[in-house]
Symmetry: C2
Subunit: 219 residues, 2 copies
């Protein structure tokens, strides 16, 4: 081995393990998902990610920055997968909705991850000091309902959904079911049990898309 190569080999051996941002985010995400924002300390995050505190600070600023990055990571990894069911314009409406709901059932009971929806779980309780995080999570929830509502609107254009149906209310109802499924998963419901709830939605689907809402009279 040349002197140069020996020096390189020594350098490689001695080089500190490179920081793997994605791996750290994955681990941080799971911790926040399971225990929430408040109950997860920076010490817990350091231990779980295997990174040093200064590395985490340099990369994410603080616990809030790491949490925000974890939210983006979750949306990219998981929510985009569920939303894919709403992107295929050649799939019939009913099938898209069923795929969307079953994807949620699968995600909420995936044994590689904590139970339930990360966004629903972490937004349930936040201290007064975390109002900014609470409001960020709320707007993300609304965005999800909007995605669903726009999807339903697009199905009116293709004639698959009657123009009399309120996309907004139907999206809210479906979203309410998904959010309830998240709570059920957190309470220990199995994937089969969540899929039974999806069976109910699919059985009543013809009536759901025949529902014509009365206007809301009081706020």
């Amino acid at each position: 081995m040349s002197t140069e190569n020996m020096a390189l080999a020594k350098k490689c051996r001695g080089r500190p393990k490179q920081f793997d941002r994605d791996d750290a985010l994955n681990k941080a995400l799971k911790l926040f998902w399971k225990y929430g924002y408040e109950a997860t300390s920076l010490a817990d995050l350091v231990e779980a990610t295997g990174a040093k505190a200064p590395t985490l600070y340099a990369e994410f600023g603080n616990k809030e920055g790491l949490f925000r990055a974890a939210v983006e990571h979750y949306l990219t990894l998981f929510v985009e997968t569920s939303n894919r069911a709403l992107m295929q314009s050649d799939v019939p409406l009913r099938q898209s909705i069923e795929e969307y709901l079953r994807a949620a059932a699968a995600l909420f009971t995936d044994c590689d991850n904590p139970s339930g929806c990360f966004m629903v779980c972490t937004s349930a309780t936040l201290s007064a000091a975390s109002e900014e995080i609470a409001s960020m999570l709320r707007s993300r929830h609304h965005l999800q309902e909007e995605t669903l509502s726009e999807f339903l609107d697009s199905k009116k254009e293709t004639g698959e959904l009657s123009p009399q149906v309120s996309s907004r209310i139907l999206a809210k109802y479906l979203n309410c079911t998904v959010q309830g499924m998240s709570v059920q998963a957190r309470d220990g419901a199995s994937r089969a049990e969540l899929n039974q709830l999806v069976d109910v939605v699919m059985a009543i689907w013809p009536q759901l898309i025949a529902f014509e809402a009365q206007p809301v009279t009081s706020a």
Copy 2:
């Protein structure tokens, strides 16, 4: 004023303000409801209740004891009110369910209290150290589903519900909707918006009670 009466008056004036357990529980409940178990410190509880820390310790043992008492307080004050809709044997099934759901919508958006269901909000995320509390909340949730399921069973005996309908799945579905409504309320949904979700349930009610479940084949 007799000497005895004067002594009594003096004693009353000088007596330290009596600890009002119910009032303290009310205030503690609201704090836990809004911020969850982890993000609520004993210092926050002392400040909110106006009681001294030793008084709270003497009465409830510790934060966990106070939380458990708050859960009982919530069940007595709020859940029993909602369940009353399921107790009136002379009320038709459909009306009982509608009253039950609208009572939940009212409770979750009562401006005197934090939004959503106290049990759903506080059970979403708990640290590893709070496993006992998590399991207590889980069993309370299951109890609520059981109450609903038993109510539906009783309606099979009166002939109002077909024996083919699975009380367990229908109870799970209704519970899922209520839990989703709690998440929606937490995200800022108004009472009118929650009542629109109840409108949907009531519109599809005939189909909901006609749903015959397939047995679960995998856990």
